[in-house]
Symmetry: D2
Subunit: 136 residues, 4 copies
């Protein structure tokens, strides 16, 4: 099972602000797109999520902004599953300008699967943990 | 019962784009804030909506952009209930620069209350229709 | 020169709202992504836009919401250049559920190129008009 | 000079997602609204920022999500200037459900003022540092 993926995102007008660069919040949308792609690569479809009503929730985000992206850039987001505990997992993200590999931002997110509407955490899929253990 | 309201919204960085002006999509967020305030003034609270699972849904939006708002502006959104049918209603919105009354945009939205998850329309609150009839 | 294009967009969590369906505002982001792709197909790159400081601006949007998209759907947005005047042009958009072709929404936008910071309209690229004339 | 402020934000439909709770990204918009209010309280207006072309930029965000907000809630964001260096400053944010004081999230952001288009950092306003020194 792949534990990483990457996506390419051209910058849109609505990603930028009047400083002429991409808004700090837009990068979190890019990260969410990459996390969604990563979860899919890890074998959990969005349709599964809705049917089980077990949603991936972000518990903590850390993001460091290094260089600004601008309109005309395409951002490459590399996402990987970094660490898996029984009921929590960390994902890491590297955001790069695709044309020249310039580092734009780094992000980590601690996540959990939460069953709604109760709001109770459920175990991370077993395959994610097994695979993780075997690589440590 | 009041059939109109207004709200004041200072422009945020994330409302603007790299053209230096407020993004066309941001105005729809302003309209949604005004529509939410209007529905509340009309006696339907957000808590009621969630409990009844009968959500106001937009069926059609028309918006004309007249002058751009910029960072530093405060936008005044005037909202009113314009027309009420059995299962549909129209809201009208005027967006103005608060400092000098410059017209920024005009918007109309046709809406309905939809019961979820079935997706079926439900009647508009009777008080909205009665009141409307009496003014025509 | 192509006068139409299409894009595919998987629905993200942040596109949906607590009604369980895609928010009316999210469709305008989909439309903007398609319009950006269309302008590129028509020979105007985002880098050109920034260098010339001549930005495509939306003057009017009309959108009709037909059926809701949900998480797990992929939306196909078909965009085309519909009409070109000296300083204004109309784009049309059809939004479909990709899996079964269900019509989700239709949108039209009247646009212009605006030179900033003056805010003055500039002529639509000649090639767009010529091509358009020849097809009428 | 006040070094803290607070704002009240009613939850909008577009802040929520199909999990029924406020999206992780929406909280960053709340934080940005509070940071903008804080900068104003600290004596820097948005109009000043645009005229000087010296923009507050976020260098790092840390946010911990504790409890979810839902439609019908009003979020109170308490913002304060926590630490000031020559060219960087930290802001802290506490997000609470206004009705009962439940802690929803905590956030810290490291920021700088950046002169555009050069992208060079400029000193934090002297008054912020002086005031800060006197309290340590």
């Amino acid at each position: 099972m792949e534990r990483q993926t990457e996506i390419l995102l051209p910058i849109m007008f609505y990603d930028t602000d009047c400083g002429g660069v991409v808004s700090n919040i837009a990068y979190l949308r890019f990260v969410e797109q990459a996390r969604t792609a990563l979860v899919t690569v890890l074998g959990v479809s969005l349709t599964d999520i809705v049917q089980a009503q077990e949603f991936p929730a972000v518990l903590r985000t850390e993001i460091d902004y290094k260089k600004p992206a601008v309109l005309g850039d395409t951002v490459r987001v590399e996402a990987q599953l970094e660490e898996v505990k029984r009921a929590r997992f960390w994902c890491g993200f590297t955001l790069l300008r695709d044309s020249d590999g310039t580092l734009l931002a780094r992000c980590r997110q601690q996540c959990a699967f939460i069953r709604l509407p109760e709001g109770l955490p459920v175990p991370v899929p077993a395959a994610w943990r097994t695979s993780e253990s075997s690589t440590l």
